[in-house]
């Protein structure tokens, strides 16, 4: 019975903490779920899925909104030198109409969505773990109001591995965000 009480207290305590945390993160409207560090061989390209979750009841414009004045969702990445972002692939928006304009379709993301980035480390990069930083620019609305455009800072890690074929030069990646950690 004592064990049950302890568990009960733990459950209540953790949920209250979660309530506070949920409220805080709601202010960002979107949360980012960084993937586990992805292993990439030097000189080869790898696609990495970056997962995002939009707060319940909200939507954001897709990367290709139908109306010219709407703010598109855009991911800007700032990789270390010699790590190249070859492509950013956005998901197609979902055509939805909303109570404020039922006759109009908007191209939006809601709930969970992911953006794929194609990363290619050059052959000159020292094998190590690197952080790639960036921002997701978005603008959220609900059924009746729109919130000002926001930027969500994010980062994820990649583990650069030696190319099985071997290379001649081994320059470490330079700034702006090189964090080789072995």
């Amino acid at each position: 019975m004592t064990a049950a009480r302890v568990l009960l207290a733990l459950a209540l305590g953790s949920s209250l903490a979660a309530a506070q945390d949920f409220s805080r993160t709601k202010q960002d409207w979107i949360s980012f779920h960084p993937p586990e560090p992805v292993e990439i061989h030097r000189g080869s390209s790898t696609s990495i899925e970056l997962g995002f979750r939009i707060a319940s009841g909200l939507h954001i414009n897709s990367h290709l909104p139908r109306q010219e004045y709407l703010k598109k969702t855009e991911l800007n990445l700032d990789p270390p030198t010699d790590i190249v972002i070859e492509k950013v692939r956005y998901p197609a928006g979902e055509d939805q109409s909303f109570p404020f304009a039922p006759e109009e379709k908007l191209s939006v993301y809601s709930g969970d969505f992911s953006i794929a980035v194609l990363v290619r480390p050059l052959k000159t990069v020292l094998p190590a773990k690197y952080a790639i930083h960036g921002v997701l620019k978005y603008q959220a609305c609900d059924k009746a109001v729109c919130y000002p455009p926001k930027q969500l800072p994010l980062s994820f890690e990649v583990q650069i591995l030696k190319n099985p074929g071997g290379e001649k030069r081994r320059n470490p990646a330079q700034s702006p965000h090189a964090h080789p950690s072995g």
């Binding site: 009960l8 209540l12 409220s23 004045y69 709407l70 109001v145 729109c146 919130y147 000002p148």
Partner: protein
């Protein structure tokens, strides 16, 4: 009676989840309701902002008129729904002393705002907004946000988010007051 710890934990989790969503929902709603509410019955803060025509307009220039002060942006879809209503209502109630004022809280340039306003057929002044003016009005965390100001310069009502045309018209009539109703006859 012996209580099953598993059932107790399930009950605790359910209650906890209800607390989480209850707290979140309450905060979300109350933030909408309280922002700017202190202004009701108070003199609307005066400001001076540039218009799309390049003039500087002050709110106090319109003392004696009922003012619908509408904060909006080109990227705000619900704002676009209201604008044609404001155009109609300005035409209908303008002779009785209504003045709609649009404040664009936009990061677009005035050229884009002007083009957007022209496409929407706006027949009332559009001012280029500043965060400082929004702060004077209790902060404008979302759009559209509208303040209804009486002829005496006092805030009669503030509405956050899109509401129906009839709600807007009712607030306009309140702002115009008895003088407006007499003039209508």
């Amino acid at each position: 009676m012996k209580r099953d710890p598993v059932i107790l934990i399930i009950v605790a989790v359910v209650i906890s989840l209800m607390l989480v969503f209850g707290i979140q929902k309450t905060r979300h709603q109350s933030s909408r309701q309280t922002s700017g509410s202190k202004l009701q019955g108070q003199l609307a803060p005066d400001f001076a902002l540039p218009s799309l025509e390049g003039r500087t307009l002050k709110l106090s220039d319109f003392r004696g008129k009922a003012v619908l002060l509408n904060f909006w942006a080109t990227w705000c879809e619900p704002c676009k729904v209201e604008m044609p209503w404001f155009v109609e209502l300005q035409s209908k109630y303008g002779p009785q002393g209504l003045q709609v004022l649009g404040v664009a809280m936009d990061d677009s340039g005035s050229k884009e705002i002007a083009e957007f306003s022209r496409k929407m057929g706006v027949n009332y002044p559009i001012l280029i907004g500043k965060d400082a003016v929004g702060d004077q009005y209790g902060g404008i965390p979302y759009l559209p946000s509208s303040f209804y100001i009486g002829r005496d310069g006092k805030v009669i009502d503030r509405i956050f988010g899109l509401v129906s045309r009839s709600d807007i018209e009712a607030d306009i009539q309140k702002a115009l007051g008895p003088t407006g109703q007499v003039a209508e006859k």
